[in-house]
């Protein structure tokens, strides 16, 4: 009995803690008119890093906009209220979160992160005409004209390619053949498809692909097979810094001297720590480690103060909330998501953390919903990462 009582007491303590931890309405929000924005993001689980960065980007942006007096819609000013729920990166959980946001919290705008969560969400958000802004590179069958409220705000490795390939071809003019390494799942297959289209466009011979399991720690067998094809360049995607480093280390020790491009790695520290002098020649697109402009520096400082850290991936996504706020003002409404979507596709932002940012892709996907922005490409040379190239993707005609 004592144990049962202790158990009940423990539960009560937890519920109090739960009450303390759960987010309340920000001060002053009750009196203000608000626009609710829902966050359906993985805050725990394997892809939590991406989810936390996305959430930080929206919360910071909302705070900044609210501090300025909110968003002007018609003659009224509205504050942004962010409601976030964790979906662990799982599809069924993402569906539950989406239902909660739409049906209980009555939100009309949702941001999401990672493919599994996005796919779960779309089945519910599109019929409900809820506008979604996400980071999702693949699942092209679930993107385009049939999904008019679905914006893919993060630039995928395909769009990145139109920035890093011109740089790579200038820096390493002898590149004629390339090979690809990627994870053995839907993300890997989609990135290989992007890579194939890019190589064809830039007239580089595709030597094929080697897929690895996420649990793989020894990349020597796969890299050996890749090097047997004698590539001039290796592209690996979507691979986090640790796996990229393992691939680079194996390739260098097996005698490969060409560039290794990793569009998904986005930080040099891990690669330098693992590979040391062998890291030279690693190319990391969309990786701005050292803020250049004053607004980039301000954003990095603000994140450090607000969240105790600044992950540059959060910086890459920070423009989304400003673009949506701009679309509210242009559309003159936040209740009609169709009008807001029409306005959002034409929003152009300057001086964001990723420079100029806008939506494009009408020719490629049949609808203008793909985020495109300045690509900051880092290169590692002499055991140091430095910003080697900044350019807006040189998108092909008709993109």
């Amino acid at each position: 009995m004592r144990r049962a009582l202790l158990f009940v007491a423990g539960l009560l303590v937890l519920l109090i803690a739960f009450g303390a931890c759960s987010r309340g309405t920000p001060s002053g929000m009750i009196q203000d008119k608000v626009i609710k924005i829902g966050g359906a993001v993985p805050l725990t689980g394997a892809v939590a890093y991406w989810g936390i960065c996305t959430d930080q980007a929206w919360k910071d942006g909302a705070e900044v906009i609210n501090a300025r007096g909110g968003v002007k819609v018609g003659n009224q000013n509205y504050k942004l209220q962010i409601i976030t729920y964790d979906h662990k990166g799982s599809t069924p959980d993402a569906q539950t979160v989406t239902k909660r946001l739409i049906e209980q919290d009555k939100v009309k705008y949702i941001y999401n992160q990672a493919a599994a969560g996005t796919i779960g969400m779309l089945e519910i958000s599109e019929p409900a005409k809820v506008l979604t802004s996400v980071a999702c590179w693949g699942y092209l069958e679930h993107y385009g004209k049939d999904f008019p409220y679905h914006f893919r705000s993060e630039m995928s490795d395909y769009e990145q390619g139109f920035a890093y390939m011109p740089f790579v071809k200038t820096k390493y003019p002898g590149i004629k053949k390339a090979a690809f390494l990627g994870p053995d799942d839907k993300d890997g297959y989609d990135c290989y498809y992007s890579y194939q289209r890019l190589m064809k466009y830039y007239d580089v011979q595709d030597l094929g692909v080697e897929y690895f399991q996420w649990e793989t720690t020894d990349f020597y067998p796969l890299v050996t097979k890749t090097l047997q094809k004698k590539p001039d360049m290796i592209i690996t995607s979507p691979t986090p810094p640790g796996i990229t480093a393992s691939i680079v280390k194996a390739a260098r020790e097996l005698g490969f001297k060409g560039p290794v491009v990793s569009p998904g790695a986005s930080e040099t520290k891990t690669i330098l720590e693992v590979c040391g002098e062998q890291a030279d020649g690693v190319v990391l697109p969309v990786t701005l480690e050292t803020p250049q402009t004053q607004s980039q520096k301000d954003l990095a400082e603000r994140f450090k103060k607000r969240f105790g850290e600044f992950n540059l991936y959060a910086g890459n996504l920070s423009w989304w909330v400003y673009a949506l706020a701009e679309a509210f003002t242009v559309a003159g409404t936040f209740e009609d998501t169709t009008k807001v979507a029409d306005a959002l596709e034409d929003v152009v932002l300057k001086d964001t953390y990723v420079g100029t940012a806008r939506y494009a892709g009408e020719g490629a996907y049949g609808i203008k919903r793909q985020g495109v922005y300045d690509c900051y490409t880092m290169l590692i040379e002499d055991q140091k990462g430095f910003l080697a190239d900044v350019r807006f993707p040189e998108l092909p005609p008709g993109y």
């Binding site: 158990f7 805050l43 936390i52 729920y85 909660r100 599994a116």
Partner: protein, 343 residues
């Protein structure tokens, strides 16, 4: 044991029936009690699915085995029903039966070698079976849709009743849940159920008294997998989208956690565990990244302070409040029986 105790124990079956009826009445009235709030109905449907999976998994546990392939069989039911609908245009009513049959058939074939293994070997082998099932869904892209999965698996209609309506689907999921719990509960009470527990307690001894242990193990595994497959069929038509990751080892592990927290010794355990943990998990969602920490603490608290699981709470209260039985030796022997499986 005194007369009061004996009388109460004699009356226990009727109390159980009353509890069943009260529970079902409450479930029937629930959508109207919450004014058909769509999100709460969704949570209730998820609770039903979790109860179905945990209860069917518990049937295998009654043999003393924990199967990590269980979610895989749920996937077989989900994919069978989805393919019947998408390729042949046949609604869930066919899919749920076909799913159960396919699930049972594969489970029977797989369990013949699988059930010859024990302990850690069974754990590893069942894990491998679950993983193989998932990978088959992923690799045969043309047929199973690959990692992308299958989409637009619409809910069925029955005359004027459209199960795209969430209240209607609530009742459908509730019927399946009651059916599965009833099947497992009744089976556990039969002679066959006792044989399952005898295998659980001492397989060698059971064999020596003439029980064909393998036959019963295969039967239990097959029935449990068929029930999981039926759950999968309803799951697919509710979510309208499935992919291989929905049926991976984590789904089996969560079902196992539901059983452990609810209690291992009766069919009420997985039901209580699934209800309690699904609701707690949902309540914790606004706590963002603290969610997993608080959830973990709740699990630890439960295991530490309620070793018999949630199902032991009424017995503990009865012991304390009604002071039954009065003699401490019997009290201790009953209390000791909590969490040790059916004796």
């Amino acid at each position: 044991m005194n007369e009061k105790s004996k009388t109460l124990l004699r009356n226990r079956p009727s109390l159980v029936v009353l509890l069943w009826l009260a529970g079902i009445a409450l479930l029937l009235a629930f959508p109207f009690l919450i004014n058909q709030e769509r999100y709460i109905l969704h949570v209730a449907i998820v609770v039903f699915f979790n109860i179905c999976l945990a209860t069917s998994m518990w049937l295998i546990w009654s043999l003393g085995f924990v199967s990590f392939a269980h979610a895989g069989f749920m996937g077989i039911g989900a994919y069978t029903s989805a393919l019947f609908f998408l390729r042949l245009g046949l609604p869930l009513w066919f899919g749920v039966i076909a799913g159960a049959l396919v699930g049972a058939l594969i489970a029977m074939v797989v369990s013949l070698p699988l059930m010859r293994t024990r302990a850690v070997y069974f754990f590893m082998a069942s894990w491998a079976v679950g993983e193989v099932i998932k990978r088959i869904f992923a690799y045969y892209r043309g047929f199973f849709g690959g990692w992308e999965g299958l989409f637009r698996i619409m809910p069925p209609k029955l005359g004027p009743l459209d199960f795209a309506n969430r209240t209607a689907y609530y009742y459908l999921a509730m019927v399946l849940m009651v059916l599965i719990v009833l099947v497992v509960y009744r089976l556990n009470k039969t002679r066959t159920g006792w044989i399952f527990w005898s295998i659980h307690e001492a397989e060698v001894l059971s064999s020596h008294v003439g029980i064909h242990a393998l036959k019963y193990k295969v039967a239990a595994f097959t029935i449990a997998s068929a029930l999981a497959a039926m759950t999968g069929a309803l799951y697919a038509h509710y979510h309208t989208y499935i992919n291989p990751k929905s049926f991976d080892i984590w789904t089996s592990e969560f079902a196992l956690v539901h059983i452990i927290v609810g209690g291992l010794s009766t069919a009420a355990g997985p039901v209580l565990g699934a209800v309690f943990l699904t609701i707690i998990d949902e309540l914790l969602r606004p706590t963002e990244f603290y969610r997993i920490v608080i959830f973990g603490v709740i699990l630890i608290l439960t295991v530490l302070f309620l070793p018999g699981g949630l199902e032991s709470i009424p017995k503990r209260l009865r012991l304390r409040l009604w002071k039954l039985p009065e003699d401490k030796d019997t009290q201790k022997s009953i209390a000791g029986a909590f969490g040790k499986g059916r004796k």
